[in-house]
């Protein structure tokens, strides 16, 4: 007999994981940090609070959630992005991974890893998280 998992399990697991971004009291929100390979911060896009809207089940074995409005960072440092972090409101790193171009073998793939010299701010129209559970 094949194992079956109700969509509520997937949504609950994703909602629980993403709610961790809202934990803490030091900052108003969690954040998504872009760093160099040597851990120097280049930019920090702020999540909303809560960071993500409730997960939905678009079908199949996937639960998805979209970020609520994210605030722009106006203190961007030009450079090459080598790492990404998602942190909660107390700046605890919840997700951390390497960043690179396609084929680099990095955890997270960016279509371009260089923050241009004339960039003064960075924002995101939205990020999505999807939990595949089979």
């Amino acid at each position: 007999m094949a194992l079956t998992i109700h969509d509520r399990i997937r949504r609950g697991a994703l909602n629980g994981a993403l709610a961790e971004l809202n934990v803490g009291s030091t900052d108003a929100t969690g954040d998504c940090r872009l760093l160099t390979a040597a851990d120097a911060e280049l930019a920090q896009v702020l999540f909303g609070n809560p960071a993500f809207a409730a997960a939905t089940s678009p079908g199949g074995s996937v639960a998805e959630a979209q970020t609520n409005t994210m605030a722009a960072d106006t203190t961007v440092t030009p450079g090459t992005i080598g790492k990404i972090q998602w942190r909660d409101r107390d700046n605890v790193v919840l997700v951390s991974g390497s960043v690179g171009l396609a084929g680099s073998g990095a955890d997270m793939i960016l279509s371009d890893t260089v923050i241009p010299a004339d960039a003064t701010s960075v924002s995101s129209p939205g990020l999505s998280a999807a939990l595949v559970l089979v």
Binding site: L3, I5, A13, L14, A17, L34, V45, T67, A72, V76, I84, V95, G97, A106, D107, M108, I109, L110, S111, D112, T113, V114, I115, P116, D118, A119, T120, S121, V122, S123, S124, P125, G126, L127, S128, A129, A130, L131, V132, L133, V134
Partner: protein, 58 residues
């Protein structure tokens, strides 16, 4: 030996767009982000399937 583990295979997929802007507000670069973080879940359900042990269950 685990009878059922791994019972669930999971991955967290993160996607999105980052927009870098100039001082005048115009977009100087738009970057797509894509990644999958593998999650290995081993619920070790075999323990709940084993027959009870102890003095009440010889």
């Amino acid at each position: 030996m685990s009878l059922l583990a791994p019972v669930m295979r999971a991955g967290l997929k993160l996607r999105g767009t980052l927009q870098f802007r100039r001082a005048d507000g115009s977009v100087c670069k738009e970057v797509e982000l894509d990644g999958v973080l593998p999650l290995d879940l081993d619920l070790a359900l075999e323990e709940s399937l084993e027959p009870p042990h102890g003095p009440d269950h010889p």
